[in-house]
Symmetry: C2
Subunit: 263 residues, 2 copies
């Protein structure tokens, strides 16, 4: 992996080079990923064409769709426990490796999320995140506190928002599915409408390497409601994944033939 | 970066290939890293010999010491905020990139930590971690709960423990410097004596790629004591870094000329 020292950042390249050609979709769970694999008629990379190093459980599907090359990656199953490798560490790693190896023009991080009804979220709603931040990295030392929160604006896509009529809200990320009182305080402070377990980590890595990234999050559970999160999440995962699937396809259809600056 | 598909895992290679030759030291903070850079007379990799991709703030120092090639990496300063890029995401990324690019025989993750006096920790004590786990990844769904905690035994080094007379204890990792009640419950459940912000993430990545890793942690603050963590941490950081520095040198001196199986 040679450092791309003579190249412009991907964002600048894409903006200058005309139509978007390579889209990287980053998804945390297999249940969320497979409907999109079918929808875009992607094929799983065979063992002998794996771009990831031996040992990495990361899985890649790829294919061409309406003039775009789509790579869809998910962090795969934990090698020992067999469950999806959710959370910030795995998401950051697979995003980093994919940016280096695939040099996408645009990243779409798609997934399910918890929503706050007090801020207008309902089950099945699809949000585009205007901002991301972490809610479980408390470092009470000046400046380190801001680093921990890691708040950043996402890549702005006013035309997608206008055309596709998605809700827009701030996204807060943490490595727990539940929400402790400390998390809740931080999420309120982040002014978040949706809560996930990967977004801010994907955004951090995308920003380091100047790759524009957008965040499509579908609400599986109401965090400030009465049902326990884990139960509600599992109950709605399949049906909400269909809404997510539909939304990502709309975004990709919109992107087809456009430049980064048209989004 | 070609996948090392035809190669054995690094651990097997090292065990089979005689003496350890390449050691990767992963450190989170510049204050912790610089005394070791001086001690081992390492030099900073120049811009034109950077192995890391453009955009990554990660910094590498390298040099030869008593028959070993030492690479010391730290995640560098946040590009926007200018503080050390502490925490699990940055540590996982720099560990991953370094394993792929440097193929170390052994990783030493060295750093400062909080200690629990109830479990025998005192300021300035140096611990080798026998086990690592996360305390802020609560996923209350069967099997996902274990994945979140991510408990694993570290590479066993009975001869280092015996020879160098370090304390041994379990290490618990989270992205916050402070400790919420939820964190405390999880840390107790992890039976941890020391608490840091990177170890379990470094261990996760090292395990994926079968690279033996050891964890040397020096206690800057007593978590179950009376002083506020941030204040005590900053007060003791410099002096405890000297103890850490000394301990890492003892470990490296011990490793020199030995095989992985001698540790």
């Amino acid at each position: 992996m040679a450092p791309p020292s003579s190249e412009e950042p991907a964002a600048a390249q894409a903006a200058g080079a005309g139509a978007i050609s390579k889209v990287l979709v980053v998804i945390a769970m297999q249940t969320e990923a497979l409907p999109l694999v079918t929808r875009f008629q992607l094929v799983e990379a065979a063992a002998d064409e794996s771009i990831f190093p031996k040992g990495a459980p990361w899985t890649r599907y790829h294919g061409d769709y309406k003039g775009l090359h789509i790579d869809l990656v998910w962090p795969g199953k934990d090698p020992v426990l067999g469950v999806d490798s959710v959370g910030t560490v795995s998401a950051a790693l697979v995003t980093y490796a994919s940016i280096q190896l695939l040099k996408p023009d645009l990243i779409i991080n798609a997934g399910t999320a918890g929503g706050f009804k007090a801020r207008g979220a309902g089950i099945g709603d699809v949000f585009l995140a205007s901002d991301v931040a972490f809610h479980d990295r408390r470092i009470p030392i000046p400046v380190f506190d801001s680093y921990g929160i890691g708040a950043r604006k996402t890549f702005e896509t006013p035309n997608i928002v206008k055309e596709l009529n998605f809700k827009v809200g701030k996204l807060s990320t943490g490595d727990s599915l539940d929400m402790s009182p400390h998390d809740e305080t931080a999420i309120l402070s982040n002014e978040a409408t949706v809560k996930d377990m990967e977004g801010a980590a994907v955004a951090y890595v995308a920003d380091l390497f100047s790759t524009p990234a957008i965040f499509v999050k579908a609400v599986t559970d109401i965090v400030d409601g009465e049902k326990p999160t884990a139960e509600e999440f599992l109950q709605n995962l399949i049906s909400v994944t269909m809404a997510l699937d539909q939304a990502v396809m709309q975004v990709v259809d919109f992107i087809s033939g456009k430049c980064i600056s048209d989004l």
